[in-house]
Amino acid sequence: MENKGEPILVDDQLIARYLSGEANPDEAIAIHLWLETSENRLYFEKLEIAWNASFPSRTPRDPNIDEAWSSIQGKLKSDKQIQIEKSSDFFKSGWAWKIAASVLIASFISSMVFIKTNTSSPLRHLAIANKGQVEEVKFSDSSIVILNKGASISYPDIFDETFRIIEMNQGEGFFKIAANKDRPFIIHTPIADIKVVGTEFNVALSQDELTVSVVQGRVIVLTPKDSSQLDVGHSAKVRSNLQGIEVAEFEEANNWGYATHSFVFKDVPLKEVFKDIEKSYSFFVDVRNRDIENCKLTATFVDVTADKIISLIAETLNLRVTKNDNHFTIEGKGCP
């Protein structure tokens, strides 16, 4: 992967360089990432205030994103015709960066966008799970990833002989990798790489943090400076600013209920139960009586549908359920 050298350390010198307009693009990215932490922001602001005080009329106002968007949108509309014409001969054009975006017509993948890229390796696809929907992608080796809402990966049409390599760009995915010792499966992310031979594990990627949790088998997590082998029941956390890998036992297996549709609850108040369930399926739960949320549930659900899980819970706790579109309404006596 490009751009994966030494991580950039944000220090006073880099901040000064940034403020005086000397930061290169990678450094600017590092600074902006670093500024997402409020502690860092406070520190930065003190230096920025001193910098601005030394030339008050050069203190920047905030960018006006709304105005900018309307101005761009105006252009967008008037350019639409050109846009479509251009994209039709895109496949024929001979750029080094020959990328063609396309949407497969098949309806079952209607909410996904595939982008084919012709680089040196065979065909690549980009899969994005659009908001509000979980998507399953099957690779050429019959490994599977279930992408949570908003996640995106890119992967080749056919895997290479020696490695099975994909890239994960953002979001969360639950991987079920077909066992093949001779062809390791590698996931590149902007923060770290993940290497396996055949396992089940969950990957949650945010802008500055990666969490890998192993449900079955064994997983190796690699950063430029560190590597860690994970066994079942463990998760590794890597932050983009620190290159170390933190390993811990995980407790919240319900986090990847979106993929497994399986949940374990041990004496958990319904309020929490519903939160886990809502996160995993595309529906909402309303309770008529707040006391219902106090009721505690101990149960294990394996590969259940939303309707099934809600009706099982209702039955167990003697509650009534009505369903309206993607809303379940629950009525009943509740618990003190």
């Binding site: 307009g21 930061a23 920047p60 994103i65 251009k86 949407v103």
Partner: protein, 181 residues
């Protein structure tokens, strides 16, 4: 390789647009802030970032942002800004030459913008000799680190150190004054 093109239609406008909007929303402000540090004018910075996004659309380049969108955008903005200041730098050169003829004089009274309050002016004046000269060249004469280094016969690294040092001193010295802002 199977010919899968036959099942593929050109990009559906909506999806591209949606994606573009997402990218725009998540990066516009930060890109403008970054551009500002280089061109030192927010109107200019916003113009640059907007025209970059528009150019990208025109050239259908939004599609190429597949691998690392963020890195691509920052690089593009950096290029636009550098082009802009190259032009400004040429225009500025003449003016600098004139000021730098007196580079060995310790005083640069004329380089401070008139708006500066005495307290701030005093704080800057109190910076140690070379540190002060370098800070003034960077902040008020708007010279690049490399330009300053060349003019003073120093390494860029030294310039970096001195600017960072100046900033730290100013933060400490100005902390009382700044509270009143």
């Amino acid at each position: 390789m199977p010919d899968s093109n036959q099942h593929i239609i050109p990009v559906i406008r909506m999806d591209g647009e949606e994606y573009f909007r997402q990218v725009f929303n998540s990066h516009y402000s930060n890109l403008c802030k970054y551009a500002f540090t280089i061109v030192r004018d927010m109107d200019e910075a916003e113009d640059i970032v907007q025209s970059m996004f528009l150019k990208m659309l025109e050239k259908n380049e939004s599609l190429k942002m597949v691998n690392d969108v963020k890195a691509y955008l920052y690089r593009a903005v950096h290029n636009y800004c550098m082009n802009k200041i190259d032009y400004l730098a040429t225009r500025r050169l003449y003016q600098q030459e004139r000021i730098l003829e007196n580079a060995n004089n310790v005083q640069y009274p004329e380089v401070f913008p008139t708006e500066l309050e005495d307290s701030i002016r005093a704080a800057i004046d109190k910076l140690p000799g070379q540190c002060r000269t370098i800070f003034i060249m960077s902040r008020y004469q708007e010279m690049r680190y490399s330009e300053i280094a060349a003019k003073l016969g120093l390494s860029v690294n030294t310039i970096e150190n001195q600017i960072s040092k100046a900033l730290k001193i100013l933060r400490a010295d100005l902390s009382d004054i700044i509270k009143e802002y």
